[in-house]
Amino acid sequence: MTAVLAGVAGFYGPWKHNRAYAQSKPIKLGLTNDASGQFGNSGRDEHRAIRMAIDEQNAKGGVLGRKVEWVTADTESQPAVGTRVAERFITREDCAILIGALSSGVANAITQVASKYGAIYLNSNSSAPSEAAENCARIKFVWDGNGTNFIRAAVRNAMQSIGKNWVLLTNDYVYGHSTAASTKALVEAGGGRIMENMLVPQNTRDFTAYLLKIQQLKPDVVSTAMGGDDNKALREQVVQLKLGEKPAWIEPQADWPDVWGAPQSLSGVFGTTWYHKLKLPGVAEFVKRWQAAIKGDPGAVPVPGNVSYNGYMATRELFRAMERAGSTNNIRIIKALENLKMPAADRMQHFDAYINPLTHQVNQTIYLARRNPKPADNTDHFDILSWTQPQVVEDDAAPGKCKLVPYEQVRTVDA
């Protein structure tokens, strides 16, 4: 009876046609990018990079001889919209692979839908530590450095050189909470004190109350875990009040599209996974390819940043995994991505990157930066201070929290 039901489910499943025409039909990707809302700017940036990777692959003849096509819809930085879009892409558009996320709330919502259908999901840019811990999934791979990685790179140094009294400014959603939890654990383990963890609702535009309270508390360090437009508004108001120097500010990651247009709002120390001025082979060529890809797009940032980098790398590695696997079967692609080692030179970073098979997190070089006091040109906003090996900043608590389901429990599908 079970076998009969499984057969019926397979027949009526969203990929019933794919099985018949798998060798001639294009591979269709569902691009779940935010185009509006809190992460609209960054979502559009990663969308351009994913399309750039697809265009480059198609120019080389596609994947396994098949053309790559895509559909997209605005996930609006809203988890409920993410759910709706993912459901539609999988059940109506026949997408067996989804790519894209900035908001960890949206990423988590898409993960639930993708898990239900066995669709592979590449979380390209959501950096909540929970994405590769309690919210991990067998079908999901997380490509951005996460809050824990960045905080690990920054906290020890700040505890020693600045002070032990910390205030946390935490966006009230999954990224903020899980990053703040990591920060709190690291600060307290180092003998520091969290004076207050101030939760900031999403879409807050006025931070004066928080900034006044911070002045009253007089901490040594303020560690922020804010996202998108909220982060931009906060940065601008910190600079307006000339609070950027004292107390010291630490920001896990400054997303390039959020910095572009308002570089004067940068203050303190922040993390990133990539910068277009890294003196590494391939970087200048990648920038040129990006500029060719965005030609005629007035909304595009003229140089790629961490968000577009992650979007591009996730998509490129997906294609390579398909080719290594020689198949578009989801389980075979997942196995081709698990344990993947990516040479530093190939990723234009300082250290080799790898995917942890227990969490599906891409562990990569973490850079700490500050606002560039001597920019070489009008795109040179970051002064890279340090780069840390991925092994040093890996979230060692994540494997204990992440429970990947066995392969047998993942519904098998072909793209």
Binding site: N203, D206, T208, A209, Q240, G261, A262
Partner: protein
């Protein structure tokens, strides 16, 4: 108490800024009985037009542009505060002309039309200025920060709150103390009688709508240095504006001002002492008030309640 005082001051200042945002919205709702969902996009457009005038390439003929750029930054800023709302007011004329067909019909038509206009304006902004963020330059005299009672305060916020106070006073004077205000109010109260007196009601409505549009654009310029300029910044304005007019009572000028101050205080105080509630607090405030007074704080009594 000393710890509380800065947050009270901050809440009141924030409230004045919210009042400035809501002013144009409440005028159009109160006097024309039209909910202008494009208010937020017009707010954003005001900021963008001012940005264009204050940037290195003002939208002027070359000779005039050169003269404009020779002006002191303070003068340019002051003139942009007038020019940008006027430019947005022209768009307001177009929106109002489109809205005329919805007058006297189901309010849903007006809502849909202004919602569509909001989307068109926002996408237009994206096409012209791109999706990146911008910062509106302000004169040195009103930027920076100052130290007071061991706390650093933003000079610009005091300036913005002062401007908001002045605009509130001017709008009140216009509505309450001038013959134009009397005609506008009469038009809202009894349009048939106003028509019978030979007053062109269409022109009156156009004037009110354009004035509301200009106030939205003006608020956008004043708020831009605080919130930053981005294409969807209008959404951040239209939601509190709508909440404020419902809380204060639809059509009530002072209701909107008092509601804005209460909203500012609620956000300011909860931001400091129960930060996770700071945005939710305004909705709780709305529910609390509307539960007791369905017509809002200063709303007129409904015929059904008589």
């Amino acid at each position: 108490m000393l710890n509380l005082l800065p947050h009270l001051v901050n809440g009141l200042m924030l409230g004045l800024l919210f009042a400035l945002i809501a002013l144009g919205f409440t005028l159009i709702v109160g006097l024309m009985e039209q909910i202008n969902l494009a208010h937020g996009s017009l707010f954003a457009l005001g900021a963008y037009v001012a940005l264009q005038f204050l940037g290195p390439r003002p939208p002027l003929p070359p000779e005039l542009a050169a003269q404009w750029l020779d002006l002191a930054p303070g003068w340019r800023y002051g003139l942009a505060l007038i020019i940008a709302p006027c430019a947005v007011g022209i768009l307001g004329i177009a929106v109002e002309l489109c809205m005329r067909r919805t007058y006297g019909k189901d309010p849903l038509y007006g809502l849909l039309l202004t919602f569509g206009a909001a989307m068109v304006i926002e996408e237009g902004i994206r096409l012209v200025w791109g999706t990146r963020d911008h910062v509106l330059p302000v004169p040195a005299a009103v930027s920076g920060a100052f130290l007071f009672h061991d706390l650093i305060w933003s000079t610009y916020r005091f300036y913005a709150a002062g401007i908001a106070l002045a605009v509130i006073a001017l709008v009140w004077l216009l509505i309450e103390k001038t013959p134009y205000g009397a005609i506008i109010k009469a038009g809202a109260h009894d349009s048939e009688m106003v028509r019978a007196l030979g007053i062109n009601l269409s022109r009156l409505r156009l004037g009110v709508f354009v004035f509301g549009t200009m106030l939205a654009a003006f608020a956008g310029i004043i708020l831009a240095p605080v919130w930053g300029i981005r294409p969807h910044m209008g959404v951040d304005a239209v939601i509190p504006a709508f909440l404020i007019i419902v809380l204060g009572g639809v059509g009530s000028f002072w209701g909107a001002v008092v509601a804005a101050l209460l909203v500012g205080l609620a956000i300011g105080l909860t931001g400091a002492y129960a930060s996770e509630w700071s945005l939710l607090s305004i909705y709780i405030l709305l529910v609390a008030v509307v539960s007791v007074r369905a017509r809002g704080l200063f709303g007129k009594k409904s015929m059904l309640e008589a």
